[in-house]
């Protein structure tokens, strides 16, 4: 009896050890420097976010290895995406995606890699946007602007990014909802978009609240509508676009992390664990607040669904906008 118990306990112990061993061998832990790929050059939005996250991960002691940001600019996100696709099987590489990773392959023949080909891990940020005018603009509300645009079609102007950027898609949606028409002018850098507004060469722009914040405080800029479901905490007096009677789908600017194609369950679980803890950390919460970002934490199947829905929504909006949709 005793002996049986003894053997039994040994057997159990062995089994537990074995099980643990298996678990250990399966658990992924970075053993060398982590490569974080972004699609902008140094100083771009994605680059700054990736560098901030690399810094904060280290500060919160969540990763033991260094995270090195690698810039792969070119063709919007296309060069970065195809670089990640080539890294299939590489466990120490991640990438930072944005909404344009979804829209770009829809309109560009050469951009053969889609977000679904890669392995989405988490969504971290939702960037709200507002519509701004110059401080001395006669347009005090969205309605003023729309009416002015109806009175003289295509005489008013908006500065923004490419024709497939969120700025332009929002314009197209508002134009469709209201029947007003105005002109969209692309500028490659955010600096030029702002300086053309402040110089009075364009009348409105879509801008992130943090970027607009200082211009508002200095009395250079005024915000006439928030492109959000609820009013922004930092701009409580600015009504949302829906409050002003314009009902358009709000296109979220999402930012998050993904891995090369077909990343293993262990790698995904590792990063999910890290970002679970990271998204709750005080320094990340402070960073979100400073930049007036919304916490967009999402993972697993809901993230997959989000990306699918976004792809469908974007395809419709782009088609409606008259863009050539290739996939």
């Amino acid at each position: 009896m005793r002996i049986t118990t003894f053997f039994l306990s040994i057997t159990v112990a062995t089994l537990i050890t074995l099980a643990l061993n298996v678990a250990w061998s399966q658990e992924f832990k970075p053993s060398k420097q982590i490569e974080a790929v972004v699609h902008t050059g140094p100083g771009g939005g994605s680059d700054l976010l990736a560098r901030a996250i690399a810094e904060l991960l280290q500060k919160e002691k969540l990763i033991s290895q260094r995270m090195q940001v690698v810039n792969k600019p070119g063709g919007g996100p296309a060069v970065a995406m195809s670089y990640l696709a080539e890294k299939k099987g590489e466990t120490h590489t991640i990438g930072f995606f944005t909404g344009v990773w979804v829209t770009n392959p829809l309109t560009t023949v050469e951009a053969t890699v889609t977000v679904k080909d890669l392995t989405p891990i988490v969504r971290l940020v939702l960037e709200p946007a507002v519509i701004a005018v110059k401080a001395d603009s006669p347009h005090k509300t969205m309605k003023d602007f729309i009416e002015a645009a109806k009175k003289s079609p295509n005489q008013l102007r908006q500065s923004g990014g490419t024709v497939t950027s969120r700025d332009n898609l929002i314009r197209l949606l508002i134009q469709k909802a209201t029947g007003a028409q105005w002109t969209f002018i692309s500028f490659p850098s955010g600096g030029e978009r702002i300086s053309n507004l402040l110089g009075g060469h364009v009348q409105i722009m879509v801008i992130e609240p943090q970027e607009a914040g200082e211009q508002i405080r200095a009395g250079n800029m005024r915000v006439i509508a928030a492109l959000t479901e609820k009013r922004l905490a930092a701009l409580p007096n600015v009504p949302t676009i829906k409050e002003q009677g314009i009902d358009i789908p709000l296109i979220p600017q999402a930012r998050g992390v993904l891995a090369p194609p077909a990343a293993s369950r262990e790698v995904v679980q590792y990063w999910e664990g890290i970002f679970d803890r990271f998204s709750k950390s005080p320094s990340w919460q402070q960073y979100l607040e400073q930049n007036q970002f919304e916490d967009g934490y999402l993972k697993g199947p809901p993230l997959s669904k989000f990306l699918d829905d976004l792809t469908v929504q974007m395809r419709d909006v782009l088609k409606e906008a008259g863009a050539k949709v290739v996939r």
Binding site: P42, L48, F184
Partner: protein, 503 residues
């Protein structure tokens, strides 16, 4: 507080031992980064940003800004010695700098570029201190039509880059303009001339093209014609290691020209140091008493563009510090840094954080002095590199070029592109096409096309928008005058000949 009182505050901040030390670290790092092609100041600052989080913020921005303007200092070294443009803004420096080096005057060229950088850096700081807010307001009047006129003005510089044949120069420029169209169209997001290559979606990398055309092309030509022969005349003794008094005198106007153009162009968010350096080179040649010698190694041809690309660093900080608008990649990173440190960069920054702004301005004065002290003794040392025999020098040039081009995007594709452009550079030299005209087209093509299309969008297709606005009108008038100059000269010389014949 007046500017003087503010500056005193700035110096009291910048002259503390800690800040002085980090200023030194910044400018030394900047010089090193500038010397090597590829790794630019933007990438360096981005890499070092995390290290600055624990530093005092003023100290941190002093160190990072030191990298920014220090890199402009160092950029000239490889351009002059090896015909490798260290930064895109030092392409123009190659034209006369490398020729000077071949004539045994590398020391003079390096020295004059250090002095020009110092003068321009100081002018840039003065400008930043005295006229930053009004200049930023003036720069806001630049809309697409004004940028278009500025870029056309830049393109007319081809008149001054042409060697023997204007037709060849124009052809080279057109090829450059075409190369600039390769990649993704900003407006429609469609791809042009990419032949299905993902790697061409971002366009042809500028560093790969310039290093290929200048450095690799030069090596190929020399390899064929001069293998075994002496490539460089070597200077004997100390006399030729530094610029002479006469050199400094010759460059009086170039210093001023480079500084002023560089500063103003730098303050425009849509232009850049490369445009500024081409413009100042063109102006220098236009007013020169011996324009025909440009491109064969004249000292002013080094001083003007070097001045311009240094003053640009001061100018680029104008929109950043007064409006919170970054002028380029490097200033965008500095902006990110300011946000990460908890500042709210924007129109109120100078008012609310005077110690930060004035400390930075004062540190730039000090940094410029440090750079001059650091760089002048290095000149004879660097010039020694030309004593190397060709069988060491050529592989060295090719090696530095490959590493440099690879490190820009970590892309082997870019290295192949460099090789391709090297062949192009070789052919152009053989057939006597001016390479600088091609580069000019490449630099300006993007901005020119963009500004034209933006202007036409603004005016609903009415092309008169380009000439009816005051600033663009004046700029285009200058263009017309420049284009007429050679014709006027020709008519005059015909007349002279006719009078001689009759008399």
């Amino acid at each position: 507080m007046d500017a003087f009182g503010n500056l005193l505050l700035g110096f009291s901040v910048a002259l503390t031992p800690v800040n002085l030390f980090w200023c030194l670290v910044g400018v030394v790092l900047g010089t090193v980064v500038g010397v090597l092609p590829g790794l630019g100041p933007a990438a360096t600052i981005a890499m070092l940003l995390p290290l600055t989080l624990k530093m005092d913020h003023t100290t941190a921005i002093i160190a990072l800004a030191g990298i920014f303007y220090g890199a402009r200092y160092g950029g000239s070294t490889t351009s002059i010695l090896l015909n490798i443009p260290g930064e895109s803004s030092s392409v123009v420096t190659c034209l006369d700098g490398y020729q000077l080096a071949r004539q045994g005057r590398a020391g003079a060229a390096l020295g004059i570029s250090a002095v020009a950088s110092f003068v321009a850096g100081t002018v840039g700081v003065l400008g930043l201190m005295l006229i930053a807010p009004p200049l930023a307001r003036f720069a806001l009047r630049f809309a697409p039509p004004e940028y278009f006129a500025l870029m056309v003005l830049g393109l007319t510089m081809v008149v001054f880059l042409a060697g023997n044949s204007m037709v060849k120069a124009l052809l080279a420029m057109l090829v450059g303009l075409w190369i600039a169209t390769i990649g993704t169209d900003l407006f429609t997001a469609e791809s042009r001339f990419t032949f299905g290559q993902v790697k061409l979606l971002g366009g042809v990398d500028f560093v790969a093209a310039t290093v290929g055309i200048f450095a690799i092309g030069e090596v190929l030509v020399n390899f064929e014609s001069r293998a075994g022969a002496e490539l460089f005349k070597l200077s004997k003794g100390l006399r030729n290691l530094f610029p002479t008094l006469q050199d400094l005198k010759d460059c009086r106007f170039a210093f001023l020209n480079g500084s002023v153009i560089g500063f103003f162009v730098g303050a425009l968010p849509g232009a850049g140091a490369t445009v500024a350096s081409f413009l100042s080179y063109g102006l220098e040649k236009a007013v020169s008493r011996h324009p025909e010698k440009f491109g064969t190694g004249v000292i002013e041809g080094v001083a003007a563009p070097e001045g311009a690309n240094n003053a640009d660093a001061g100018g680029a900080l104008v929109p950043l510090l007064t409006l919170g608008i970054p002028g380029g990649n490097t200033t965008a990173i500095l902006l990110g840094g300011l946000i990460l440190w908890g500042y709210r960069p924007g129109p109120l920054l100078i008012q609310e954080h005077p110690q930060l702004f004035w400390g930075l301005v004062a540190s730039m004065y000090i940094g410029n002095v440090l750079l001059l002290i650091l760089n002048l003794p290095l000149v004879p040392l660097f010039a020694q590199i030309l004593r190397l025999p060709y069988y060491i020098l050529y592989p060295l040039i090719v090696g530095i070029s490959i590493v440099g081009v690879y490190s820009v995007n970590n892309s082997l594709f870019d290295v192949w592109m460099m090789g391709l452009f090297g062949l192009l550079g070789y052919l152009m030299r053989k057939l006597d096409f001016p390479a600088a005209a091609l580069i000019l087209g490449m630099v300006l093509g993007d901005a020119l096309e963009r500004a034209l299309r933006q202007s036409l969008m603004m005016s609903q297709g009415d092309i008169t928008i380009l000439v009816t606005r005051p600033i663009s009108g004046i700029l285009l008038l200058i263009v017309a005058v420049i284009l007429c100059l050679p014709a006027v000269r020709k008519v005059r010389s015909w007349r002279g000949e006719a009078i001689e014949r009759e008399g």
